[in-house]
């Protein structure tokens, strides 16, 4: 069977190992889609995890000032740990699976998310806060109805950076065989498979751009009042 097929397909862009190869896309579409789906899943899960941890941390740092230094310091220290090392240090705790990648990336996103949340909240003008108090807003209602909406541009900016860097860093998860497109990338490099390396690299960048645009759109929907005033 193989012997029959081999001569007919012996000379094509796959066997010639060309960078751009239509046959690669048609024959490996399934692999690419699976990797892309896994990549998106890891990015979304890790950023959501990061958000879920960052919100209470930011609120804690704001409410009790003495925690601010510790929280900002710790999240920044995590950021200086190399991604490959962070995944590896998590392995004894979370095992050789996708959990380790998601938690590792979630930890990375904390630095950016917490910092931007604090910056955004600190940027709310004091007069606005006072008028809200004067209108009888309680602490909680003021936070969610006045301060968070005004801090939204800064928070969303943090979310965009966190998402885009998560897309890039997910590839490193290849060390645990859960790197989405990174798995195909490493596989392509070690087997000198040019079409696969180029395709996955380009897909990675396109995914980052697509998610970034999606978040820009979301921000425009969430902050309709900024549209008329400034185009940021």
């Amino acid at each position: 069977m193989l012997a029959l097929v081999a001569p007919a397909s012996s000379d094509n862009c796959l066997t010639r190992n060309e960078w751009i190869c239509g046959k690669y896309y048609s024959s490996r579409a399934g692999d690419l889609t699976d990797a892309l789906v896994q990549h998106v899943g890891i990015v979304v899960a890790s950023v959501l995890l990061g958000l879920a941890v960052a919100v209470p941390l930011a609120l804690l740092a704001r409410r009790y000032r003495r925690f601010e230094g510790v929280i900002v310091g710790t999240t920044t220290a995590i950021y200086t740990i190399p991604s490959l090392a962070l995944f590896s240090l998590l392995v004894p705790l979370t095992g050789l699976g996708v959990t380790t990648v998601v938690i590792g990336l979630g930890l990375y996103s904390l630095t950016i998310l917490v910092r931007n949340m604090l910056e955004g909240l600190a940027g709310v003008p004091a007069e606005v806060r006072e008028s809200a108090l004067g209108m009888g807003y309680g602490r909680r209602r003021m936070l969610w109805r006045v301060e968070v909406p005004l801090a939204l541009p800064a928070i969303m900016a943090g979310l965009r950076v966190a998402t885009v860097s998560a897309v890039a860093l997910t590839t490193v998860g290849a060390i645990l065989d859960y790197g989405g497109l990174g798995d195909l990338l490493v596989d392509g490099t070690t087997t000198d498979f040019k079409a696969q390396v180029l395709a996955t690299s380009v897909l990675c960048v396109l995914l980052a751009v697509a998610l970034d645009l999606l978040l820009v759109g979301l921000q425009r929907l969430l902050t309709p009042w900024t549209r008329a005033v400034a185009t940021r």
């Binding site: 200086t80 490959l84 090392a85 590896s88 004894p92 950076v161 490193v172 990675c204």
Partner: protein, 228 residues
């Protein structure tokens, strides 16, 4: 687990030969320093000059975003298979040249952005006063703007240096040189202790570098803290 890691550090075999810690550490440090030099030589003068002329702000902002989006693994793979090949490059080992160039590209954004911001943040009144005193543009840049921008310039170098040190581990994923080899070898042979030991070496040195830079930064700040 902890005992295994300590045992790994205690094993003399891990401290000698081509795959011993000293050799890999040397490769790793050489990679970091050389790629930092490449990025600094290319990026710093350009950023200082653009900042001096107060031009190219959008470029600087976009560079930050692009820097975050570059999948480092993709870049090193493309360069290794494409332009530079996976062959050994002098003391840098396999895929050495591809790794060097990738790291240099990775180091550029923080260096450029911080140097640029530092220059444009210099008080315009100070610049005008210096001009009024008849300083030439080059003197102004060298003797007024650069000293005032220095803290941010060094911040950029610090961020780049620590990031490059940390990122150099990823080269090992595509058979490159450096300390990442220990980690990758640990994974390949299912030796968690080795993985953790390799990671600890890289992470601890990264933190030490960060702290060292902060100390240097405090020393060269022309204005004592609190006066800004």
């Amino acid at each position: 687990m902890i005992r295994d890691v300590i045992a790994w550090f205690g094993d003399a075999d891990h401290w000698q030969g081509a795959s011993g810690v000293p050799t890999l550490l040397g490769q790793h440090a050489l990679l970091t320093v050389v790629s930092m030099l490449m990025a600094t030589v290319v990026g710093l003068p350009a950023a200082l000059w653009l900042g001096h002329r107060r031009r190219g702000g959008t470029l600087a902002v976009n560079l930050t975003n692009i820097g975050r989006a570059i999948p480092i693994l993709a870049l090193v793979s493309l360069l290794a298979l494409g332009v530079f090949g996976t062959g050994a490059f002098g003391p840098f080992g396999r895929s050495g040249l591809a790794t060097l160039v990738t790291l240099a590209v990775f180091a550029l954004p923080p260096i450029v952005i911080n140097a640029y911001t530092g220059m444009t943040d210099v008080d315009q009144d100070v610049v005008e006063a210096a001009r009024g005193m008849g300083m030439s543009e080059l003197d102004l840049l060298r003797r007024v703007e650069l000293p005032l921008a220095l803290p941010l310039v060094v911040t950029g170098l610090r961020l780049a240096f620590v990031q490059v040190w940390a990122t150099a581990t990823i080269a090992a994923l595509v058979a490159g040189p450096g300390l990442g080899r220990i980690i990758v070898h640990g994974y390949e042979s299912f030796q968690t202790a080795e993985v953790v030991a390799g990671s600890l070496i890289v992470a601890v040195i990264a933190l030490l570098l960060e702290l060292g830079f902060i100390v240097v930064q405090k020393m060269i700040d022309p204005l004592p803290s609190g006066s800004r």
